[in-house]
């Protein structure tokens, strides 16, 4: 199968959906001629014009609010939020408005919009351009949240997001834009709420989101060499969350580590760990363990930044201890 980059995959998804449905449009900062700073949207304005690939002023709350209103009245906006950190600017429009309008109106209004943004540290961009804030939006009922882990998922999830009748937030990992993966030429969509078992295993389950899937796949390689068979599962969407698949794996392997690049405390790893603990407690040989980013603002210095994120080494180390039963002694 041909391989394309994550960036190309997103671009293709948008192009296909904009061809298919003329109510789909893109709005955000420097999305047209510049094609975003990451160049993900390069060329779309040539095909669809500035009427459907709309450059905005630096007014995140404003254009997210406008997307909500546009979505309520018959279009399907795809909002480009240049950095995931800017979510903090648009939370009111996203969480007080977009997320609640369908419910508050008793089902008479709906907000079919997509908010594309990113996550991921280690790009030396410091505390306000490196956050992974998906846990925040996942906490708000009414939003769906997708976390593609490769070009394949990025395309398939984006196409689904655009056809959804609800507000969807998609987080791309900004360090993966140039990573290639096999992506079929034929059209495909990836349903929400269906986890992907990336690698089967017997001894331990590694549940990983976004770029942490790569991290866990590397860890699994190392563990395999040591005779530990790790299953790697990518939930693909955290809202809705395919709890069933995760629980089944936990019951099978009896040991679980959840790995995510958001801050660990009050984050995604806690939710997934809790759901598994609640449902598979008596099948577990050890507590479900979490590995998130450190609970510190992301530091600029490379010497510090690299310490804050989960790495294959940290996963391997934790898996070894779990499989050796060491957590028993710790408890």
């Amino acid at each position: 199968m041909r391989e394309i980059t994550l960036s190309q995959a997103v671009n293709e998804a948008l192009r296909e959906e904009m061809r298919r449905d003329e109510t789909v449009f893109i709005i955000g900062e420097d999305v047209a001629e510049a094609g975003t700073p990451f160049k993900v949207l390069a060329g779309l304005v040539d095909e669809f014009g500035t009427g459907r690939v709309i450059d905005t002023p630096i007014s995140e709350p404003g254009f997210v609010g406008m997307a909500v209103g546009a979505a309520m009245t018959g279009t399907r906006p795809v909002v480009d939020l240049m950095f995931g950190d800017f979510l903090f600017l648009v939370m009111d429009q996203l969480c007080n408005q977009a997320a609640k309008i369908h419910y508050m109106s008793g089902g008479t209004l709906r907000v079919p919009m997509v908010l594309r943004t990113n996550l991921g540290a280690t790009r030396r961009s410091a505390a306000q351009h490196s956050q992974s804030l998906h846990a925040l939006v996942a906490h708000i009922p009414g939003l769906k949240v997708a976390l593609p882990s490769s070009a394949y998922e990025a395309k398939g999830l984006m196409k689904t997001a655009i056809r959804e009748n609800n507000p969807v937030v998609i987080f791309e990992d900004k360090l993966m834009y140039n990573d290639k993966a096999p992506v079929p030429e034929e059209e495909y969509l990836i349903p929400f709420g269906v986890a992907n078992v990336k690698r089967e295993g017997r001894d331990i389950t590694l549940i990983a989101t976004s770029s942490m899937v790569q991290v866990c796949e590397k860890a699994a390689e190392t563990l395999a060499a040591e005779g530990i068979s790790a299953e790697v599962i990518d939930p693909r969407t955290i809202v809705p969350l395919d709890t069933e698949t995760l629980i089944a794996s936990a019951k099978k392997t009896s040991r679980v580590i959840v790995v995510d690049e958001g801050h660990q405390s009050f984050g995604v790893t806690s939710e997934i760990a809790s759901r598994i603990n609640e449902a598979a407690f008596y099948h577990l040989d050890a507590p479900v363990m979490r590995l998130g980013a450190m609970d510190v603002p992301v530091p600029f210095s490379p010497a510090l930044e690299d310490l804050t994120v989960p790495t294959p080494e940290k996963v391997v180390e934790m898996a070894r201890r779990l499989c050796a039963g060491e957590m028993i002694h710790a408890a």
Binding site: G65, T73, P77, H102, M104, G106
Partner: protein
Amino acid sequence: MCATKTSRAAKAAPKGNSEDYLRMYRQMVRIRTFEDNANQLYLSAKMPGLTHMYSGEEAVAVGICEALTTEDKITSTHRGHGHCVAKGAEFKEMFCELLGKAEGYCRGKGGSMHIADTSNGNLGANAIVGGSMGIATGAALTSKMLGKQDVAVCFFGDGATAQGLWYEVMNMAALWKLPVIYACENNGYSEYTKTDEIAAGSIRGRAEAFGIEAHQVDGQDVLAVNTLTEGLVERARKGEGPFFIELMTYRYHGHHVGDINREYYRSKAEEKDWKDNRDPIIRFRGWLVSQGLATEAEIEALNAEIEADAKAAVEYALAAAYPDGAEVDLHVYAPTDPSVFRPGA
């Protein structure tokens, strides 16, 4: 019993016949009557929560909404009953909503502060001050993008002009010439604070700085409001928007129904002056009679009819059923027809 709104096709000529004038009067009285009944429901502890009365500001909502077609959109505020009635809503569904009943416009899920009436283009009240400024502007973007003729009117208060969102969306509306009208209901107060204390400079000047044509109008004069709006709506349809209107008005009640002792922030004399000398309904009624468009008797009959309607609607709503508990987790997500997710769909 509802005031039927004209569709765009039927609505070309400016106001000028008695039917139009009487409908405006009727709508203002309907709003006042709705509010009086809502207030009674609160005072008699029959309404859950609090609500914000529109009484005194009727000419604003009616003057503007009478210039709109059903397809035109509005966004409303926490003080939104007036906009809802003026845009064509029915008493029954409104009272049901205020009481949290299943037959309410939002199946009881929204209540007073989130009442929406999509059949008439009311995109909903909003409990975040200024929270609908983006929504209205986005509705105008849809209109332009899909080549429709719809205009969007964004209602908000003087207090809402302090929200940064307004400046962001005005900028984009002006850059892209969107068919949106920002209607600022300046009732002199933002909760318990006078507008002067929280608004520096000139509110109209703020819109003008973005190159937006700005108007001020007596919000107690329904004809003045309507005439101005008719003109701006027509121009907005032609791509000459956006526009800004500052409507000088007054709220008769407290900030919300529970705000009874308010002398620490405004005097009884001031309230009395507005009620006695500038009431939009009294003024318009006098004009209708003086112009021979209606007799006092006809007006009294109309008032009584509306009063009776309201009473019936209140009684209906009080007796109506609450939504079933099973609805609590319905409408969190809109359903999507699974077939659209098939490749090639």
